[in-house]
């Protein structure tokens, strides 16, 4: 009885909604997403997608947006690629052919490279969330890279920790591809600054039951600074165990790990004294960051992450780019309008205060970094540490 009533109401409501929707002539623009939504990286993939969803919901609830006199709402089509580049390529084809998506987001470098094989020909813009510089350095005309290059961190990280603790570096980061890539770039920068790499013992952060052995091996050469990093929580364990084994120096934390999450496992910010890493979202003092953290807490448990905040911003950015370009389906015009669109994004939608885009499509130039001094996070500008 009750059920039929509810059903009838629902039917009436949707009929009304349909009629209203029809009256407003709202068209839909489909934004594609391919990323890991199952498997080990599922949480990361969901976080990135959630940023897009949060922005799209706000835009749609506010009545959509106008391009060239026409009103549009955003529809996100998300496909799972389980972190696999080949699956990302298949998803990309599907998103373009089946859903007519002019823009595809992907939160990993492998997926980006796979999509770049055909995006210029098939005509879609890639919004890539990865800090691997090669994504934009290769000259793909339809790629925008959202976060900063990790290579921007290398010199400041080196200078800050070397000045404070000394020249001997111990490498104890993880063993996956991204970590190896970091090590390959970071070690030469450290050496060039007059430093010495005394021990090198990367560990599998996801498959080790215990880090005591690995950490004590690195510490046996008495380094001043430890280079650590992988997923945040295991990184926290490595830091904790290094402190337990009597390590007094500083940590260089790879940008994959987030300082606030590391601190939760490692025993508070005190245990991270002298560490350098990327700035936790909660420490960014922009109005956009504060608003975003609140917005996140309204509907979610846990801390808001940078990947969610960046995606939230990126969705607003492409909305403005479509308006500036006067088109929702010409990826080249949308890409060309990004510099003007950046100026239009409301600061409250821009937690990281992104204001520039380089010629080749890199949004995150000159990022800030965080150093732990006397148990507190201090923000530094990478621009101050350039050679």
């Amino acid at each position: 009885m009750n059920l039929t009533k509810t059903f009838r109401r629902l039917a009436t409501a949707s009929a009304v909604a349909l009629a209203l929707g029809g009256a407003a002539h709202a068209e839909e623009v489909t934004i594609g997403f391919t990323g890991p939504l199952s498997g080990g990286a599922a949480l990361y993939g969901e976080n990135t997608l959630e940023g897009l969803r949060m922005a799209a919901e706000e835009i749609n609830d506010a009545g959509g947006f106008d391009v060239d006199g026409e009103n549009y709402t955003i529809d996100i089509e998300s496909l799972d690629d389980k972190y696999s580049p080949s699956q990302a390529a298949v998803n990309g084809k599907r998103l373009v052919q089946q859903y007519d998506a002019p823009i595809i987001f992907t939160p990993h470098s492998g997926g980006t490279f796979a999509l770049q094989a055909f995006n210029e020909r098939d005509g879609f813009l890639i919004m890539s969330y990865t800090s691997v510089p090669a994504v934009t350095a290769k000259g793909n005309e339809l790629t925008v890279k959202i976060p900063p290059n990790f290579t921007d961190y290398l010199t400041p990280f080196t200078k800050i920790t070397m000045d404070r603790f000394g020249k001997k570096l111990g490498v104890a980061n993880a063993t996956h591809d991204y970590a190896k890539y970091w090590t390959k770039e970071f070690v030469p920068v450290w050496r060039k600054a007059g430093g010495d790499v005394v021990s090198m013992n990367p560990m599998d952060y996801n498959k080790s039951a215990d880090f005591y052995t690995g950490v004590s091996k690195v510490l046996s050469e008495d380094p001043d600074v430890l280079f650590v990093g992988g997923a945040s929580e295991p990184t926290g364990l490595v830091v904790r165990q290094a402190r337990e084994l009597g390590f007094k120096g500083g940590f260089v934390i790879m940008d994959q790990a987030k300082m606030d999450e590391v601190a939760k496992v490692s025993g508070g910010l005190e245990s991270l004294e002298g560490s350098v890493g990327v700035v936790p979202l909660a420490e960014y003092n922009t109005p956009g960051a504060e608003r975003f953290v609140k917005l996140w807490q309204e509907k979610h448990d846990g801390v808001a992450t940078s990947e969610t905040a960046y995606h939230y911003f990126a969705m607003y950015l492409i909305m403005h780019a479509m308006q500036e370009a006067g088109s929702v389906d010409d990826p080249r015009a949308i890409r060309a309008a990004i510099p003007q669109a950046l100026a239009k994004v409301d600061p409250k939608h821009n937690p990281y205060d992104v204001t520039d885009v380089t010629e080749d499509g890199n949004l995150g130039a000159d990022p800030q970094i965080a150093e732990v001094v006397d148990g507190k996070v201090v923000i530094r500008e990478t621009a101050d540490y350039k050679d």
Binding site: N201, M203, A209, D210, Y212, T213, G214, S216, G246
Partner: protein, 287 residues
């Protein structure tokens, strides 16, 4: 010398946890005669139950350990009653498939409730002891002492009590055990309960120095399988000695040879031991 002792201590910590998990696995093998792939999931559930009791409800660590032990023992018995018992006349492959099913089910269940995030269970014992250059946090000491006392208690139970003897009898010779009037159902349930209890206590001991997450069982169960093959399927001293061998191999090999190859060292040892003694180190138990 310090470095060697430090690594030996690390090996002992790891080895005692591996041993505890392997003990449960080997006991159940004695009954089922197939490896119980779901054992790692029981270990993981044990850690989550402790987390639930201690972190989410603020109770004492020891209460959490006991609670987790009892809950997982019950869960383990349920698996036996609802899954393995009805399959007792089926071909062994069915047990294996069922075990994998339980493993996937428990992992998905935990992930549904707690999500895939890493969680941390703090230890109430945060002191760090220093003995002339050796670092030993209290929790690690607790792991070693706790694991070995449990092994000792299990040994006494199996050797000195009637119920314990029936478990051994079943493992040694099924038909013989039936002939002397041992109740197979009771023994099977008892064994599963003990195995579940050991896994949960092992997980609660180990969780404070590691993280709690749905896939945490994989790591330990892989090692536990190597251990029971190395020590001899179904053999109790084999599980303990095997656990220590793998623990020491990881710690010492990881330090003196290479951290990257520490798992390789464990498997090379396995190959070496099996080529000398193809049935494992201690095989008087089953087969």
């Amino acid at each position: 010398m310090d470095a060697f002792l430090q690594q030996a201590l690390n090996g002992l910590t790891l080895g005692s946890i591996y041993g505890l998990v392997a003990l449960g696995l080997t006991l159940v093998y004695g009954i089922l005669h197939v490896p119980n792939f779901a054992h790692g999931a029981l270990y993981m559930v044990g850690a989550y139950v402790s987390y639930f009791i201690m972190v989410e409800h603020g109770l004492n660590y020891w209460v959490a350990m006991l609670g987790a032990g009892l809950v997982v023992a019950l869960l383990s018995v349920l698996c036996e009653r609802l899954v393995f018992h009805p399959l007792r006349h089926a071909p062994p492959i069915h047990d294996k498939i069922a075990a994998i099913g339980i493993l996937l089910f428990l992992e998905a269940l935990v992930q549904m409730h707690w999500g895939a995030d890493f969680r941390r269970m703090p230890t109430p014992y945060t002191e760090i002891f220093n003995f002339g250059g050796l670092t030993l946090p209290a929790q690690r000491l607790l792991i070693i002492v706790g694991a070995f006392s449990l092994m000792g208690a299990l040994h006494l139970y199996l050797k000195k009590t009637m119920t314990g003897s029936t478990i051994i009898a079943m493992a040694q010779n099924r038909e013989g055990a039936f002939l002397v009037g041992i109740d197979a159902n009771r023994v099977a349930m008892m064994t599963f309960a003990i195995a579940g209890f050991l896994a949960a206590v092992g997980a609660t001991l180990f969780a404070p120095i590691n993280l709690v997450y749905p896939a945490m069982g994989h790591l330990v169960i892989m090692k536990a399988f190597v251990i029971i093959i190395l020590g001899g399927m179904g053999s109790i001293p084999g599980a303990i000695v095997g656990g220590l061998i793998i623990g020491f191999a990881e710690a010492l090999g990881g330090y003196y040879l290479s951290g990257t190859y520490k798992d390789l060292i464990a498997f090379v040892l396995l190959v070496a031991i099996l080529s000398i003694k193809p049935t494992g180190l201690f095989t008087k138990g089953v087969r």
